[in-house]
Symmetry: C2
Subunit: 334 residues, 2 copies
Amino acid sequence: MSGALRAAYLGPEGTFTHQAVREWLALRAKGDDGGLVSAASGTAAAGGRSDAAQPRTTVADVHDAVSARTADVGVVAIESSVEGYVVPSLDALIGSPDVVAVDEVVLDVSFDAFVRPDHAELREVSAHPHGLAQCSRFVADSGLRPTPSSSNAAACRDAGPHTVALGPPLCGELYGLDTHARAVEDFRGGRTRFLVLAPRDAARGHLDSALARGTSAWRTMLAVTPHLVGPGVLARITETFARAGVNMSSLITRPLKARQGQYVFVITLDEAAWESGARTVLSDLLAAGDALKTLGVFPAPDLDVDGTLDPDHVPVGSVTVDAGTDEISRGLLW
Amino acid sequence: MSGALRAAYLGPEGTFTHQAVREWLALRAKGDDGGLVSAASGTAAAGGRSDAAQPRTTVADVHDAVSARTADVGVVAIESSVEGYVVPSLDALIGSPDVVAVDEVVLDVSFDAFVRPDHAELREVSAHPHGLAQCSRFVADSGLRPTPSSSNAAACRDAGPHTVALGPPLCGELYGLDTHARAVEDFRGGRTRFLVLAPRDAARGHLDSALARGTSAWRTMLAVTPHLVGPGVLARITETFARAGVNMSSLITRPLKARQGQYVFVITLDEAAWESGARTVLSDLLAAGDALKTLGVFPAPDLDVDGTLDPDHVPVGSVTVDAGTDEISRGLLW
């Protein structure tokens, strides 16, 4: 991809998604042009180009901008380590006739607390209800009145003289606020994964660019609608992956809206759709009668995966084969 | 279970969870005592008993009330047809040392719009940001200013003279409001599933009551932490279910917080843990070295499942084996 990029994202300005857009544009500018990046200004200037991040109001608006080519890419949150899949984003992608994911961005999610430089006595703490929940200890310790906002960015944008607003670090600079406290979330290490969306017919161009940048490890996100449901359907599908030696890094079931008890499986696999193992899997599933749709292909993150079970990280109350009979009965309720 | 029941739930009063609690208490009172039910009053009076619904502030508070036996059961939302799993509820259950699910309640989710009987000119429409999003057409058509609230119930409770508040039907009576419009959600047919939680050591009593009421079809919710991860792990687990002829109605992966790339599988299976197929599966998984934890056993809903693929309900853009080469390439991105 060369030339300036227009990136539509779920706004308003100052959301974590906006931050993800900036990082993605900066990386692309660096990768394509050798590094003249001005991430802080929200635009990436390289070789005279000027990328533009365009806030949109809804996930559907982001999709529409990509479909209508009024934006080159769209960026939406897809999964949070705290909240799981962002189902509206996932369902929009499953249901889209012509938008696919071509890249991803992973952000550490950390909240700063901001105040106006001219603030008066502080009386309230404002954020999206999820933001207030994720910073519950800071909110409780502050003794201030929790005040919900439609988004963390809106809380920062609209902060009054009596307000402490919680939001992404980006919001301080964006809305001219002072940082009152940093990293006020209850738990460190929360991460959110964002997808970069493009028209299906433009996907090849994005993926060729990633290949040219040296990407060698890929992931594919796939929707599998099985031709028959009932006992064994998931076993049949997963067996197809195992036989081809292709790892699934995630699998979830999503209901087919109109049909109770019927599901589409959303599977993330650790290969590109065109690599040999994935091609075997996709061909075998097609041959079995399933309906398939690739939801995205994107470079895989670098993961340091240790394959063995660490007993300290198993959910408390779990039992293993070494446990006594009573303990197993209690753990399994059988 | 006899005698009055104390049910802790995620408040405030007037949430959909509160409505789920009322329905559950009413059904239990009817089942145990023959039907003297006063669901509208929020208590079920039967044989002189008086059940009590107790609002709590957080999911953790609901768990604590159940663990500490200050409530007999707890009720939390676990899955929505619109938003997917309620991850904080799911993670609390996975991480709980001593709370399990013993029943479920499924509610149609429908919003009514309320105003104060003495309302003045209407200027704003208030709900939780998710409620505003789920009623986006009503909000847009109203021309009123969207005003986020910490919960739909809080929006109704705190409605001022200029406010239209969106919330469960229950809120009208509860907060003395007039119904301005009914069923203002964008999409009908949304449903939310709630779990009824009890101490693990009291689970048998609840399940024996359900057996005594004639329950014959069950579901079990299971956390499986595999002893090894990598290609084939999910295939091995699902093959174990297929061999025993046990259907999984849902499977999702949840990250083990501390270990990147490692997951616990949360599986809902269509048998009680003590039934023969489930016992075979659980024994085989234990023998393979996995760590297991039953998260709940509860009566299965009546589902009218049709096992065949309806082409009209497959996600748009999906391809099947009958499609042409170009169409398959476009659908699969291979």
